[in-house]
Symmetry: C2
Subunit: 267 residues, 2 copies
C-alpha cells in the first residue's frame, strides 16, 4: 500500500501555493491532486463530508489522517519530516514571533486578499454586471495597511519577515502578493513607498520554487487582463466568507431576524 | 529587577480573556495592566510604537521581549513555563489538529465576533443613530455557520473541541461565546439545535477561571442591555478591521482610486 501523501490543491489559491512551495523547498514527496475549484466540486456535500466541512483547499491526506488549513498542514509536515527548525523558529522567542506573524497575517494581510478576489475572480463567479466597489475598496484598505506594517514592523530589521532567516511566513505572504501582483492590484506608488517590501518580494520571487508554483496564476490572470480570457469560476468558498454581500457563504444557515428569544446560558 | 511578566489587557476583549484564563489555569504569575480600551489610549502612536503597531490587546511584555496576538502569547507561555502538552497537543496528529482549529477559528468563528461587536459596542463607538444591520447580519452568518461546524465536526467525537482533553482552542472559543452570550446574540433555537455546543459551553463555564475572567463582560453588557448603562467606547481597533464600512481602520492609508499605474514586479 502506498503511503505517499496526497496533496489536494489548486494553483489559483494563495494558501495552496504556499504549502506547495514548502513541500518543494523541503523535498517532500507527494501525490498531487488538483481540485478544480473553477467548478463547484469543492462545494459538494460529499467533498465536504469526506475532506473538509468548509469546502476549502489545500487538504493533505496522510494515510488515515486528513488535515486542512495551510499553516496547520505545514506545521504538521515540518514536524513529521523533521524539517529545519528555522521554518517555525529556532528559539523560544523566534517561535513566539512566528506564531504572532501567522495570526497577525490571518486577520490582516490574508483578508486583504479580497482586493484581488473581488477585482479578478468575483466577476467570473457572480457576474460581470455586479458592482464590487465596496468589497474591492475594503480589500485595498486591508492590503495597504498591511503593507505599511510589513515595512515598518516585520521587515524593520531583517531580510525576511521574521528575522534574517527564511521562515514559513515568507512563503505564505509571498504567495498572497503573487495574486495581487498578477492581478495588478498594487500600484507602483505603493511598491515604491514600501522599498523593503518591494526588495523582499523580489528576493522571494528569485526562488525557483516560488516561480514554479505561481506560474499558473500569472499566466491565467494575465490572459484575462490582457486578452479577456475568462475562467469558468463557480466556486463561492472564498477567503472573505460571510463578510461580504456576495459571499453566498452561510451554508444554508439562514439567520431568522424575527427570532428574539435570546435566553442566555450563563451569568 | 522584577522579572514578572506584564500582561496588558482589557476584559471586554475575547482574546484577552482567553489568555488571562490560560494564565490562571496554569498558575502563571503576572502583573496585570488594564489598557482602558473604552478610551482611545491604544490608538495613540506612542502606544503602537512601544507595544503593538496594530494597537490591539492583549500584549505580553517579558523583560525585553514583547509579544502580541493571543494565540502566540499562549504558545510562548506554554513553552516557557513547560505547561501540559495537552494545551497544544500531545501527539503529531493532535498538534496538527489543534493548529488546524486555530486557523479555522481565525477565519470563521472569530470574525463572527462581529455579531456581538456591531450589536453591542459599535453603537457606543460610532453613534446610536448609525445603521449596523449589514454588519450584524454578516456577523451572524459567520457565527451560525461556525456553530454548525463546531457541532458536526469539532465536537463530533469528544467532550472538547480537539478531542477528549481540554486544549487552548477551548479557552479561545469559550471566551468568544461569552461575548455572544452576554450580549444575547445567540437565539435559544440556535443553542437548542446545536446540543453538543450547548453542553460544551456549559462544561467550559463550570470552570472557576472561565467565570472569573468573564465577570466584567457579563456585568457591563447586562447593565447596558437591561438598564441602558453605556460604556464610553472610543476605540476603533476592532476585530473586523477594514472589512466593514465603519471600520475606520486604514491607519491613514488612503487608497487613491485614480492611481492606475499598476506595474507588476514579476511575471
Amino acid at each position: 500500500m502506498s503511503t505517499k501523501l496526497r496533496y489536494l490543491h489548486h494553483p489559483a489559491s494563495q494558501p495552496c501555493r504556499a504549502v506547495h512551495q514548502f513541500m518543494l523547498e523541503n523535498n517532500i514527496e507527494f501525490q498531487e491532486e488538483i481540485v478544480d475549484i473553477t467548478t463547484d466540486i469543492n462545494e459538494q456535500p460529499e467533498f465536504r463530508e469526506r475532506y473538509n466541512p468548509t469546502g476549502q483547499v489545500p487538504i493533505l491526506v496522510d494515510g488515515d489522517f486528513t488535515i486542512w488549513e495551510s499553516a496547520a498542514i505545514v506545521y504538521y509536515l515540518s514536524e513529521k519530516y523533521d524539517c529545519s527548525s528555522s521554518w517555525w523558529g529556532s528559539t523560544l522567542e523566534e517561535r513566539g514571533h512566528i506564531q504572532q506573524y501567522m495570526h497577525w497575517y490571518a486577520y490582516t494581510l490574508r483578508l486583504g486578499g479580497g482586493a484581488f478576489h473581488w477585482t479578478i475572480f468575483a466577476p467570473m463567479i457572480y457576474g460581470y454586471d455586479k458592482d464590487f466597489t465596496v468589497e474591492v475598496t475594503k480589500g485595498r484598505f486591508l492590503l495597504y495597511e498591511s503593507f505599511d506594517i510589513l515595512e515598518k514592523y516585520w521587515l524593520k530589521d531583517g531580510d525576511y519577515l521574521c528575522g534574517n532567516t527564511l521562515s514559513y511566513p515568507d512563503l505564505a505572504t509571498c504567495q498572497d502578493l503573487v495574486s495581487h501582483d498578477a492581478g495588478r492590484i498594487i500600484p507602483t506608488s505603493m511598491w515604491d513607498s514600501h522599498p523593503k517590501v518591494k526588495a523582499w518580494f523580489a528576493r522571494m520571487m528569485d526562488r525557483e520554487h516560488a516561480k514554479t508554483v505561481s506560474a499558473w496564476q500569472y499566466e491565467n490572470v494575465r490572459k484575462y487582463l490582457d486578452d479577456g480570457v475568462k475562467l469558468n469560476f463557480q466556486r463561492k468558498t472564498a477567503v472573505l466568507k460571510g463578510t461580504e454581500v456576495y459571499s453566498g457563504h452561510n451554508n444554508g444557515i439562514i439567520y431568522n431576524g424575527d427570532d428574539d428569544s435570546f435566553v442566555t446560558q450563563h451569568g
